[in-house]
């Protein structure tokens, strides 16, 4: 069944897909009359050329690590969670409620509580579609899409009507107390002698995101539950035969997934804005889809893809500032990455598989005087 060596599957195919996506993005830039090379250098120097740029790149990356892990965990159970956007919005509500409830004395106390609040609210928002799928058989993709809109309406209502401080016109909560302020990377690195610009919003949440990557890796590949999730994802009948309850797996996987999306709020709500505003997620939930696809649902891949998208986001902002290329270029690149690494995966995979097959046949023909097992291998179905 394994036509390709593992390295080709894990690295070669995604890299070719991404090169294709970026090549077409370059053509798009050419098409609107700009120079792709200049655009690239502007993005690299703006996003990676200074600790100021890194402060933003890592801030965005933190968001995308959480939403990417959210989609990735669900992918392992072959569940497509498009609801990261809504779950992260609800996570924001959870974090805001926790931060406003108590006059926190120190962030080290506020952060664990906020993590709990964000994760619980996110998990709750994912649990309803999960329940609808596990018990009522409704399609998780459609339900999670619907829940994104419901979440948007709910937060809109709460911010306009109940959470807004008296006399304020702005649909946002009050500022969080001083004690809930998370240290930025600059505040963490400067005391130990590493100069880092204080302007960027990257904060201690980045460390939590790295920890989340590790924990997800442990969960998926080193625990019994992770094994059950992967088994269910590979084959539901086989999992049922092995005594794994599909309902339990759907519920737990989706709740973990939603909790990860909800955790994003410690970065954007608690770390950056320090209050809950309208549309605080800003599409990060959807970028998680691209990040998870690009990272092949592996935490390490998600981490790298999230940093790449963080770079694109910050670089895109720089582009909008210094050239006439609008920020929406990033949306196009994101779309192409999803298209090539997700939907058009076979377009890249099939020719590469054919190449490897031919190479193997040739080796087999050389190795033995006997007629090779070529014809059999050739008829092997390439599709999964």
């Amino acid at each position: 069944m394994d036509v390709m060596p593992r390295w080709a599957d894990v690295i070669l195919v995604p890299v070719i897909s991404i090169i294709l996506a970026f090549a077409i993005s370059g053509l798009v830039i050419l098409g609107i009359g700009e120079n792709p090379w200049d655009a690239l250098t502007t993005m690299v120097s703006g996003a990676l050329g200074s600790t100021y740029g890194w402060g933003y790149t890592l801030y965005y990356a933190t968001n995308f690590i959480f939403t990417g892990l959210c989609v990735a965990v669900a992918f392992h159970a072959r569940l497509f969670n498009i609801g990261g956007e809504g779950q992260a919005a609800l996570g924001g509500l959870g974090v805001a409620l926790v931060c406003l409830a108590v006059p926190w004395p120190h962030w080290a106390l506020a952060l664990p509580a906020a993590i709990l609040g964000g994760a619980l609210f996110g998990a709750f928002w994912a649990a309803i579609p999960a329940w609808a799928q596990a018990w009522r058989g409704s399609h998780i993709v459609i339900t999670t899409i619907m829940f994104n809109f419901i979440a948007a309406a709910l937060l809109n209502y709460l911010l306009v009507n109940t959470l807004k401080p008296q006399g304020s016109m702005d649909p946002a909560t009050a500022r969080f107390p001083e004690g809930a302020h998370l240290p930025t990377l600059a505040e963490m690195l400067n005391p130990i002698g590493i100069p880092f610009s204080g302007a960027g919003p990257a904060n201690v949440s980045f460390v939590i995101a790295l920890l989340a990557c590790l924990l997800v890796w442990v969960l998926i590949w080193r625990t019994r539950l992770g094994y059950e999730i992967r088994a269910y994802g590979h084959s539901e009948p086989a999992a049922v035969y092995a005594g794994i309850s599909p309902r339990k797996i759907i519920m737990l996987t989706m709740m973990i997934s939603g909790a990860l999306a909800g955790l994003m709020a410690i970065n954007n709500v608690m770390g950056e804005a320090e209050r809950l505003v309208l549309n605080s997620v800003e599409g990060a939930g959807f970028i998680g889809i691209a990040v998870a696809l690009m990272g092949r649902s592996h935490p390490l891949g998600v981490l790298l893809a999230a940093i790449l998208f963080g770079f694109l986001y910050q670089g895109g902002a720089e582009l909008a500032l210094f050239t006439s290329i609008p920020r929406e270029l990033i949306v196009v690149i994101q779309a192409l990455v999803i298209l090539f690494t997700g939907a058009l995966d076979n377009m890249v995979r099939m020719p590469i598989e054919a190449l490897f097959l031919r190479a193997r046949d040739r080796r087999a023909a050389k190795a033995s005087a006997e007629p090779p097992a070529g014809p059999e291998a050739k008829t092997e179905p390439a599709a999964r």
Binding site: P326, V332, M347
Partner: protein, 321 residues
């Protein structure tokens, strides 16, 4: 609420329902053939932009309409290649196309017109003008029925009538023609269609193309009928509402009309009343925004009848070798 207000609300219901109906029927053709399509939103958006931009440049709304259909069908073609030829994940392809549309329309609009991702305002021949139905003015004085005919039914853009006529047409094509029978069969049991010697791939491409055509008309209506020009993200979730209506209608054309009119009414009410009182209980506008989605979740969870999608939906067909 007096009669005139009621008529006004129903009138705007009709206008707001038209794009939903077209998009919903587009999804109906596609999903009945087993190709899930969450890219309705993106297709409408590129169509809205293409028709706005081309109608402004050429001054002719009809050329704009053609451009809209062309743009929408180009996205359909990508969806077809990804999900039929390369047997990719149809949902992921749809998500990608929605983003592609959201980004590309603004990018091209900015480099074409330089007005911050919008087209200039359309007027004159670059818009679909209201059509006055025959005798509308002379019948307007007839009590009750006169205003209903003259104010409610007459005076819409031609595409609204196209949308309404597409419903019986869709029903006829799907349930009274050989093509429709095969199209429905390919969404239920593609292997059986293949065994009968009919091309599964051909039928599915045809259904995806029809979806592109209908989304093209819907998008064109948004920028040249409902509004005068394209603005960034002007579909505003209508593709998803159409998707919701499709499930609400359980993948049937006449029910789709009903569902789209209902969701159109909700939009019209939310547009007119910021806060609506029902039996003394204030109903915030956000409830109205969320209602289509909540209703769909409830329907999908099987509380109000079971919504059973076409059986082969979302599964790529692999011919046996």
């Amino acid at each position: 609420m007096d009669f005139a207000t009621l008529l006004q609300i129903l009138d705007s219901t009709l206008r707001l329902s038209a794009p939903l109906i077209l998009a919903c029927l587009a999804g109906l053709f596609s999903e009945r053939a087993g190709i899930l399509d969450i890219g309705l939103e993106g297709k409408m958006l590129v169509a809205a932009f293409a028709s706005g931009a081309v109608a402004y440049t050429t001054g002719s709304v009809w050329i704009g309409l053609l451009a809209a259909i062309g743009a929408s069908m180009a996205l359909s073609a990508i969806h077809g290649v990804a999900s039929i030829t390369f047997r990719g994940n149809q949902l992921i392809s749809g998500v990608a196309l929605n983003f592609l549309a959201a980004g590309m329309t603004v990018l091209i609009a900015q480099s074409w017109f330089g007005q911050g991702g919008r087209t200039p305002s359309l007027f004159g021949g670059a818009r679909f003008e209201p059509v006055t139905l025959p005798f509308a003015e002379s019948l307007a004085d007839v009590p009750i029925l006169g205003p209903i005919y003259a104010d409610l039914l007459s005076g819409h853009s031609i595409l609204v009538y196209v949308a309404l006529l597409t419903v019986p047409l869709t029903w006829w094509v799907l349930f009274r023609t050989r093509f429709g029978l095969r199209l429905r069969a390919v969404g239920e049991n593609p292997a059986a269609v293949d065994t009968a010697g009919v091309s599964v791939v051909g039928l599915r491409y045809a259904s995806v193309a029809i979806a592109g055509l209908l989304c093209g008309i819907a998008g064109s209506y948004l920028s040249t009928g409902l509004q005068a020009g394209f603005v960034k993200d002007m579909t505003a979730g209508r593709g998803y509402i159409a998707l919701a209506a499709l499930i609400f209608a359980k993948w049937r054309p006449w029910y789709a009309l009903g569902a789209c009119l209902l969701f159109g009414l909700l939009q019209a009410l939310a547009l007119r009343y910021q806060n609506l009182d029902i039996f003394g209980i204030p109903l915030p506008t956000q409830i109205m925004d969320a209602a289509p989605y909540i209703l769909t979740v409830v329907i999908l969870a099987g509380f109000v009848g079971k919504a059973i999608p076409p059986r082969a939906g979302g599964e790529p067909y692999v011919k046996e070798r």
